[in-house]
C-alpha cells in the first residue's frame, strides 16, 4: 500500500474528529462571540458519562445517546449559568471564565471517576479492514466517524438554511438587538446554540476515545487541533469547520508520517501561527461579509 495513500486515509479520519470539535467552537462563536476553551473538557466530561452509562447498561448506543443529551444540557447550563453573567462585560471575561470551567471540569471528573487512563468501547471494529489479501488502513469505526460527522454537518446545514429556527439563530448571531425587535427570543437561542455546540463536542469526545483512550485531559491536544481547524475555516462557518478539520487532519498526518509523530503538535501550532499571520479572517469568510 502506497504510504501517501495510507497517510491520506488516516488524515481524513482524524480530520473528521477535529471538524466535529471545530464545529462546536464555531457554533459557540456564532452564538455568543466567545471562544470556548472548555469545549474539549466538556466533551471529555460527557464521554465519561457515556462510559458510565455503557458500563451500567452494556449497550454502546444507549451511552452514545445519553452523552449527546448530556452535551446539550451541559452546554445550555454553561451558557445560562456562567457565560450569561458576563455577557455585557469585555469579551476577555467570558474567555477567562471558559478557562476556569476547563480547570473545574478537569479537576471534578477525576474526583468522580478517577484519573487513570481508561479504554472506551467502539461500536465497530477499530482494526484495519481486509480486502482480499490486502489490508487497507481504514477501520469500520473510521467509516462510522466520517459518516456520522458528515451527517451532523448536513443536519446543521438543513437547520441553518431551511428552517425558521435556523433563520432565527443566524439573525441572533448577526444582529441580536434587531432580532429581538423582530420578536426573536435571542436569549433562548444563545442557550440552545451552546447546547447544540456541546452536543457536537460530545460527539467528538466519543469519536476520539476508542483510539486515543479516555483520561481527564485527553481532549487538550484535540482542542488545539480543533481550534486551529475552526480558525482556518474562519470561526464563523460550519462548512469552514469541516474543511478546516480535514485540512488539519491531513496536514498532521503528513507531518507525523514524513517528519515524525513528535512534530504533530508543533505542526498544528505552526499552522495556527501561519493562518493568523497570512489570512486571519480564515479561508471561508469573505472580508466584505464581516461586520464592521
Amino acid at each position: 500500500m502506497n504510504y501517501f495513500f495510507v497517510l491520506t486515509l488516516t488524515g481524513v479520519a482524524a480530520g473528521m474528529i477535529y471538524a466535529a470539535l471545530a464545529l462546536a467552537l464555531v457554533l459557540v462563536w456564532r452564538a455568543t462571540r466567545v471562544v470556548n476553551f472548555a469545549q474539549g473538557a466538556m466533551a471529555m466530561t460527557t464521554t465519561y458519562i457515556a462510559l458510565a452509562v455503557i458500563q451500567l447498561t452494556g449497550n454502546y448506543w444507549f451511552g452514545f445517546i445519553v452523552a449527546l443529551a448530556a452535551g446539550l444540557l451541559l452546554g445550555a447550563v454553561a451558557e445560562r449559568g456562567v457565560v450569561r453573567w458576563v455577557e455585557n462585560g469585555p469579551p476577555l471575561n467570558a474567555v477567562i471564565l471558559t478557562l476556569g470551567l476547563l480547570l473545574i471540569l478537569e479537576a471534578v471528573v477525576p474526583m468522580i471517576w478517577g484519573a487513570q487512563i481508561r479504554s472506551f468501547p467502539a461500536p465497530f471494529s477499530i482494526a484495519a479492514m481486509q480486502v482480499g489479501a490486502a489490508f487497507i488502513p481504514v477501520s469500520p469505526f473510521n467509516l462510522f466517524t466520517v459518516g456520522v460527522v458528515l451527517l451532523v454537518m448536513v443536519a446543521l446545514l438543513v437547520l441553518f438554511r431551511f428552517t425558521g429556527l435556523g433563520l432565527s439563530m443566524r439573525a441572533a448571531a448577526f444582529a441580536p438587538e434587531i432580532a429581538r425587535l423582530l420578536g426573536v427570543r435571542v436569549g433562548r437561542l444563545l442557550t440552545f446554540g451552546w447546547g447544540l455546540a456541546t452536543m457536537a463536542g460530545a460527539l467528538a469526545g466519543m469519536l476520539v476515545a476508542p483510539t486515543l483512550l479516555l483520561y481527564p485531559n485527553n481532549m487538550d491536544a484535540i482542542l488545539v487541533y480543533g481550534f486551529t481547524a475552526a480558525v482556518l475555516g474562519g470561526l464563523d462557518s460550519p462548512i469552514g469547520a469541516l474543511v478546516g478539520g480535514l485540512s488539519m487532519g491531513l496536514a498532521l498526518s503528513f507531518i507525523g508520517g514524513y517528519l515524525g509523530p513528535d512534530l504533530e503538535t508543533a505542526g498544528a501550532l505552526a499552522i495556527l501561527i501561519a493562518i493568523l499571520m497570512l489570512r486571519p479572517q480564515g479561508l471561508f469568510v469573505h472580508a466584505a461579509e464581516r461586520r464592521v
Partner: protein, 235 residues
C-alpha cells in the same frame, strides 16, 4: 392607546429623558420632533423595550410595557423600525422579511404578509433573494418598513426614517406611511429631525428639547409656530 407617563431615562447618570408624558391614539400619526440629543431616539427605544427607564411607565391598552423585553413588546402589536433601518445585511431580503413573521407561527399568513409587502414596495420583489447588503439606501428603508409590517403591528414606531435619504425617497416613504395609516388603521409614532416632512403627514406633534417636552400640539398648528421652530430646531 399607548400612554407614556413621566418617563425618565439616564445613561450613566446623564439624563436623556426627563419626565416625558405622551399619548398616542389608536389611529393617526404622532410626530416627535427635536434637535439632536433631545431624547427622541431614547423615547422610542424605551417604548420598544430596548432601554430601561429610571422612572415612569409605558402602557399599551391596559398592559404595562415597562420592564417587558423587546421580543415580548413586539408580540403586543408594537413594531419598531430602528434608526438606519437596522436591516440584517447578511440575510437575504426574503429572510429579513420572514424573520419578522416567525413568532406568529402561521405559515398561511406568512405568504400573504410577504405578498402584501412586495405589492407595497415593488423594488423589493425584484431583489427578493439577494443579500440585503446589495440594496440601495432607499430600498433598505423600504425593507425596514416592510419588515416591521410583517409582524402585523397595530402601532408602528419609526426612528428617523428619512435619515440619509434623498428628498425623493423621503417623500415616498412619508407617503407610504400616510397611506398605511389610512388603509390599515395603523397608529404611528414618527421620530424625526426633519420636521417639515414629518409635520406634512402627522396629526399630532410633540417637540422635545433636552429630554423635556416643550410643546404638544396638533401638527397643523405647530407647523405655523415659527418662533418655536427657530428656538428649538434652529431653522
Amino acid at each position: 392607546m399607548l400612554e407614556v407617563e413621566g418617563l425618565s431615562v439616564s445613561y450613566g447618570g446623564v439624563a436623556a429623558l426627563d419626565g416625558v408624558s405622551l399619548r398616542i391614539p389608536d389611529h393617526g400619526i404622532t410626530a416627535v420632533l427635536g434637535p439632536n440629543g433631545a431624547g427622541k431616539s431614547t423615547l422610542i427605544r424605551a417604548i420598544a423595550g430596548l432601554v430601561r427607564p429610571r422612572a415612569g411607565t409605558v402602557s399599551y391598552g391596559r398592559r404595562l410595557l415597562t420592564g417587558m423585553s423587546p421580543e415580548a413588546i413586539v408580540r403586543m402589536g408594537i413594531s419598531m423600525v430602528p434608526e438606519g433601518g437596522g436591516i440584517i445585511r447578511e440575510l437575504t431580503v426574503d429572510e429579513n422579511l420572514r424573520l419578522a413573521h416567525l413568532w406568529r407561527r402561521d405559515r398561511a399568513d406568512l405568504r400573504k404578509a410577504l405578498d402584501e409587502v412586495m405589492a407595497l414596495f415593488p423594488p423589493l420583489a425584484a431583489r427578493r433573494h439577494l443579500p440585503a447588503n446589495s440594496l440601495s439606501g432607499g430600498e433598505r428603508q423600504m425593507l425596514a418598513v416592510g419588515r416591521a409590517l410583517m409582524s402585523r403591528p397595530e402601532l408602528l414606531l419609526l426612528d428617523e426614517p428619512s435619515l440619509g435619504l434623498a428628498p425623493k425617497v423621503v417623500s415616498l416613504i412619508m407617503r407610504t406611511i400616510r397611506d398605511l395609516c389610512a388603509k390599515r388603521g395603523l397608529s404611528v409614532l414618527l421620530v424625526e429631525q426633519n420636521a417639515r416632512s414629518a409635520l406634512s403627514i402627522a396629526d399630532e406633534a410633540l417637540l422635545l428639547s433636552s429630554g423635556r417636552t416643550v410643546a404638544s400640539r396638533r401638527a397643523g398648528e405647530l407647523a405655523h409656530e415659527e418662533e418655536l421652530w427657530h428656538a428649538y430646531l434652529g431653522y
